[in-house]
Amino acid sequence: MTVAITLDMLAATPPYEQVRSQIAGHIRTGSIRTGEKLPVVRALAADLGVATNTVARAYRELEAGGLVTTRRRVGTIVQAPPAPAGPALQQAATTFVRDARNAGLADEEVVDLVRGALIDLG
């Protein structure tokens, strides 16, 4: 597992949500596979220079979403997503993001576009 997450401390999105959404994204795209172990809370918090509560909350949210499970003495393990995105859907997402970036949209704007579409579709 060599994927990374990046925090923007100046962004409006809370740091825990940035951690949660990026790890969730990596799990859903298969960058982090089922059964892999996430870093311990203290280590990831130290690497990001944030409070341990920030990462702990992100992990709790991921667990509530069914993406990870935390076991005592084992750590936080990635679970299979409840509704896995198939290869075709992943390809469509990749194509969409690429097209949006080519159109000059920033990543936040791409996410806003998806959120807008979700709202439109109810």
């Binding site: 597992m1 990374a4 990046t6 923007d8 130290a46 690497d47």
Partner: protein, 305 residues
Amino acid sequence: MFAGAALLLLLFVLVPLVVVAVVVGTVLVTSSRPDVSLSSEVAGARRHAVTTGALSTLVAVATPFFVLAAFGASYALRLSFGLPFRPVACAPLAGAFVGLVVLLVGELTWPRPTGASRTALLQDRSMRTLLDSGWVRLTVVAVAVATVALVIGGLVGDGQSITHVRPGGATSAGPFPGWGFAAPQLVMLALCLGLAVACVGATSRRSAVVRADAETDDLLRRASVARVGRLVLASALVTLGADLFFGGLAAQSAYPEGGWHTVAASVTLAGPLLLLLGLVALALPAPRLPAVHLTPTSTASSMPA
């Protein structure tokens, strides 16, 4: 008598240490990788680690001499009052202990990520992965051998001497690493081990170096563990070597002939060799970043977005 032994010990320690330090220093300087080829964060982290490591080695070497100077000068006076000679026997381990304190402070003050944008690799790391290294294995073996030797010395010895009871009388000789020396040395060894574990734990928990790839960060952590292992290994070997040397001399006096005399003579010879090995271990460099590695540009681009 002690002045001569202390001079002998100083020569045993100082001369090989200076020779090895000069050789290793020359190799390091000629093969050193300039900071300019590293990102500023990696270079800063490396400077922090190297500075802390050098300082820890310096205090680990200097402390025994301070102990020798403080207690050794008045050894004869102290012996005449029946005071134990334990502080000097624990000097190498005391040096390692102080050096480990410096390393622990270095780990706890490791550069933390700053700035608005922060990146972390999602990699699981633990003490267990860090302990899987040659330095740690060598240290464990050396500490185990030293512990066994100290226990044997304690069982065979008679406090701070060894006594050979014969039909015609008894011969006693010292200093010998009986419980009088072995017990405080075992306590110091245990303290050093505890501090070493704390250091490795701090190394595993410290923040990753900003803009360093997984390989570089892992190498910096392994180098820190090597510095910890180096201190414990060197102090264990030096203590063991000194104990075998002086214990062997005492045993030769107590057993002037026969098989035990041969064993004692062999042990006496093994002592300086182990002591020299300990000094060599202290001078060996920790794992270093390869001379040709990632440039700052490629380091940055190798990070996933």
